[in-house]
């Protein structure tokens, strides 16, 4: 087990390096730059800025500096480099380090995202099981309609419709910000809607599969009550596909959704990520990409370990 984890960590570092390198060169391949849009600045000033942040050097040189550190000709920053966990300064938000931006914005996204994941699981798993156990009956059909909606509706539709209904028409929930407890309800629901529907579907199909297995018949023949059959014997087997989906889903949801955060005015990482791309805020793009990659990798590793704990047949090699 320990050997496996060490192996996975080494692989993870390699993956993150690959992601960072690719992003770096792709990002620079996109036309424009961090200081292009600001028309009021004179060419001399732009040149000075470019020089200050090392943008006048060749791309490989910039890459080496970014990865391995140094510069700081009067706070052009980049000191330790990515290799020492130093993501340098934001090019657009003066005086903020990228690490600081991530550590202040990520918790906001993670709080909303975490609640959304919880909601998706708490609703999706029972709903999927209910659908499977009532296959073909009205409950199944109602749930089917609901999940189809959940998968088909884009999140901006869910966001705007719920906002229109609950904030404008009924006026019972705040339409944005995160000042009140109740202001979490709409964004969490909007964020959870898709995974909830998806988990319900996964759960329904795997539950249908498990219920037809021979060992379920054995459990019943032992005289176990229906609830024990279901909770002890079926659930643990049926939940595996959901766990698989959970890894990337958790990483994606925790790091925030651009659309949901924009619509509900949540100062989270998702919004930050997208605006940094449009601004060509190179260091922030790099920092958030690496952070997101690391998050996905950690979650997938956790899921793989969880998998082994749930199903003893799986061998971690």
């Amino acid at each position: 087990m320990l050997k496996y984890i060490i192996k996975r960590v080494i692989l993870a570092i390699l993956t993150i390096w690959l992601v960072a390198t690719l992003t770096f060169f792709l990002m620079h391949a996109v036309p424009g730059g961090p200081f292009v849009a600001e028309k009021s600045i004179s060419p001399q000033a732009i040149e000075a800025l470019n020089k200050k942040f090392g943008m006048d050097k060749s791309l490989p040189e910039q890459y080496m500096t970014y990865m391995f550190g140094s510069r700081n000709e009067e706070t052009g920053k980049i000191e330790g480099g990515v290799i020492r966990g130093d993501f340098s300064l934001s090019l657009k938000q003066r005086g903020f380090t990228v690490s600081r931006i991530i550590t202040t914005k990520f918790p906001v996204s993670a709080k909303v995202g975490g609640l959304a994941i919880l909601l998706a699981l708490v609703v999706g798993i029972p709903l999927g099981s209910i659908a499977a156990l009532n296959r073909g009956k009205w409950a199944d059909n109602v749930i089917l309609v609901f999940t189809t909606c959940g998968i088909a509706f884009p999140s901006f539709v869910v966001c705007t419709v719920t906002m229109y209904l609950f904030s404008m028409k009924l006026g019972i929930l705040p339409s944005g910000g995160l000042d009140l407890g109740t202001s979490y309800i709409l964004p969490v629901f909007s964020l959870a809607f898709y995974p909830m529907a998806y988990i319900t579907r996964l759960m329904r199909s795997s539950m249908l599969d498990v219920v037809g297995q021979d060992y379920m018949r054995t459990a019943k023949a032992k005289g176990l009550s229906q609830s024990v059959c279901l909770f002890k014997h079926a659930l643990r087997n049926a939940i595996l596909p959901v766990v698989t989906y959970l890894g990337p889903m958790i990483a994606g949801t925790l790091s925030g959704s651009f659309i949901v955060e924009k619509i509900f005015r949540i100062p989270g990482l998702g919004g930050q990520f997208v605006s940094s791309i449009t601004n060509r805020d190179y260091t922030v793009i790099m920092g958030t990409t690496i952070f997101y990659a690391a998050l996905v990798i950690v979650m997938i590793l956790l899921v793989d370990i969880l998998y082994k704990l749930i199903d003893p047949r799986i061998e971690l090699k």
Binding site: Q213, D214, Y215, R217, T218, A219, K220, A221, K222, G223, L224, S225, Q226, H233, R236, N237, I310, D311, P312, R313
Partner: protein, 351 residues
């Protein structure tokens, strides 16, 4: 719907069980209501098992062997429905039992072993967990006592290193070993009846013999009755006291093992016995198959269900169902040829 059914059973006179019988089934009719129509899986099945007796139920796939046994335990799968008859087991009137009653009975008074040991155990729980579960459910043993009992059971079914096996998962054991575990689970509460649903079909031949031997051995030790369901006449020959031959949801012949093997009187039974490969014959002859295909239970024929495949089929066979002819006290058979023989004998006597 349910209420209406209850009323019907009240109105009808319930045929009660005979005192010395463990299992008594009278005229059971059971259908599966599928989208394609009503599949008449059981058509007037009657059978009985005495305590400590081994009954073999023989027949081809879809003849209703398993359905009969499952209905006794309340395990009839959706969309199956009991339509008529009276089922008695160990003093319980099965027709009126609720799911709760069944839960108390299953695994305790009656246990079942399934065909495929590879898939019959839950892959995510240890062997120990799965055996102890049934012990703790039906007895008031605590965790420690249940474990001791599980250990004892594994020893009883001849598993080596039982201590180690308790902590292992099903995928770590071989097929034969898993079937032994299934038997251990079945015997955990010393049931009155063990239903073995093709217990050896999925195992290779040497393991088959071992498992059968084990079952016979345990039967003697624990004094329980066994219903052995199989399509393999070789399996029932050496083990059963009595045999019931099923075809198309009916019992077509039933008698002691000797009667069935030495005096088969139904054409289907004769065909089955003729199709057994003969090992000791000098000349190699071809196997004798029963020609034709099994009956479509969606549209069962008007006459004898075996008539379309029967080599001695008569006109009456296609038109009317035969009734049971008593050949001896223990031997009955459903075939028009027997009636014909009887009728001819009577006429001869008259002359």
């Amino acid at each position: 719907m349910k209420k209406k059914q209850n009323k019907e059973t009240e109105a009808r006179e319930i045929i009660s069980a005979k005192p010395d019988r463990l299992v008594d089934i009278y005229h059971e009719r059971l259908s599966f209501f599928t989208p394609a129509g009503e599949v008449k899986a059981l058509n007037d099945v009657s059978l009985s098992v005495k305590p400590g007796e081994i009954l073999g139920i023989v027949g081809e796939s879809g003849s209703g062997k398993s359905v009969t046994a499952y209905s006794l335990m309340g395990l009839t799968a959706y969309p199956g429905k009991l339509l008529g008859g009276d089922l008695w087991f160990n003093g319980h009137y099965v027709n009126d039992m609720t799911e709760r009653d069944f839960c108390k009975m299953r695994g305790n008074e009656v246990s079942i072993i399934f065909q495929d040991p590879m898939t019959s155990l839950n892959p995510v729980y240890t062997i120990g967990n799965q055996i102890e579960e049934v012990i703790r459910l039906h007895t008031d043993k605590n965790r420690k006592q249940a474990k001791a009992r599980a250990l004892e059971l594994l020893e009883l079914v001849g598993i080596n290193e039982p201590e180690k096996r308790l902590k292992q998962y099903p995928h770590e054991l071989s097929g034969g070993m898993r079937q032994r575990v299934m038997i251990a689970i079945g015997l955990a509460c010393e049931p009155k009846l063990l239903i073995a649903d093709e217990p050896t079909t999925a195992l290779d031949v040497t393991i088959q013999a071992q498992i059968l031997e084990l079952m016979m051995d345990l039967k003697k030790k624990l004094d329980m009755a066994i219903i052995l369901i199989t399509h393999d006449l070789g399996v029932v020959a050496g083990t059963c006291d009595r045999i019931a031959v099923m075809y198309a949801g009916q019992i077509v012949e039933s008698g002691t093992t000797e009667e069935i093997f030495y005096h088969p009187s139904h054409e289907y039974t004769k065909g089955l016995i003729a199709s057994i490969p003969k090992l000791h014959e000098e000349e190699h002859t071809r196997l004798v198959p029963i020609e034709g295909t099994p009956v479509d239970l969606l549209n069962p024929p008007k006459g004898c269900p075996f008539a379309p495949r029967c080599v001695n089929c008569m006109k009456v066979c296609l038109d009317r169902q035969p009734a049971f002819t008593e050949i001896s006290d223990t031997h009955i058979s459903k075939c028009w040829l027997l009636d014909k023989a009887k009728w001819e004998a009577e006429r001869k006597a008259e002359n």
